[in-house]
């Protein structure tokens, strides 16, 4: 389809928008998989969410 004399600008705009959105989606997905594997790691070392022994309360 003919986008006129300034087609380059139109295509560049949509491409950049698509690229940035793809970057956002990539960010959240990569972050999630990294966090999942870290949690699995910690779990395999025996650390879980629930307290199994009475330790002193969390620092934060």
């Amino acid at each position: 389809m003919d986008l006129g004399p300034h087609a380059g600008f139109i295509i560049a705009s949509y491409a950049i928008c698509f690229g940035v959105v793809a970057g956002l989606i990539l960010w959240v997905r990569l972050d999630k998989s990294q966090l999942d594997s870290t949690l699995k790691d910690l779990e395999s070392q025996g650390l879980t969410k629930t307290r199994r022994t009475s330790k002193k309360p969390d620092i934060q």
């Binding site: 004399p5 956002l24 070392q45 025996g46």
Partner: protein, 255 residues
Amino acid sequence: MGILDFANPTRFMKLTQLVLPWLVGLCAIAFAVGLYMSFFVAPEDYQQGDTVRIMYIHVPAAWLAMMCYSIMAISSLGTLVWKHPLADVSAKCAAPIGAAFTFISLVTGSLWGKPMWGTYWVWDARLTSVLVLFIMYLGLMALWRTMEDPIKAGKAAAILTLVGALNLPIIKFSVDWWNTLHQPASVMRMDGPTIHPDILLPLAVMAVAFTLLFFVIHLIAMRNEILRRRVRTLRLRAASAARPAGASATLQPAE
């Protein structure tokens, strides 16, 4: 109100797990319809030709950039005033998304301006205040990442966000208060929109699509942040119990 239901992180995780697939589906449909309408249904402008199609991403991105900051401002109130547990998670996750949308609106505006006005950039009130908004987003992202404790960082960022919220009305009304190169408001006006429905409808659809996209990414990012805090808590607990971390200890990357 439903907000109180979300106060518990575990409840939040469960609820968002149910809601997210629907949001993603709706978002994809909205973008499909919106993009189709932008290219094949909307007519070309009698003056600008096809370049007006850039408007269908430039304007929604700009609206989202401001809406995102408003959400951050409300979240900051939630942190400081109501002490809602997830408010600072919401604020932290909204910042990169808002910065991305501001970036899109600046770049697409620049690419639209070159063929139409003859220049990539001009220091008029609207462009400058959006650039300042972009710098504020980046500054907030930097502030979040310089403090180790997420709760303290949340409080500091909340104060900065609220002070910066003064910029939003300036952006919105800058094109009306000062004579600028950027065109004055034509959609959100007291007298109603001045654009023809043929152009207004694709714009509205794209705006809905972008809004849904924001919520999808925001919710996923919030889920990630909750997981990240869980990791941090577990690590702190391990360190305080003097448990050896083991050979597979992973690097903690910059957040």
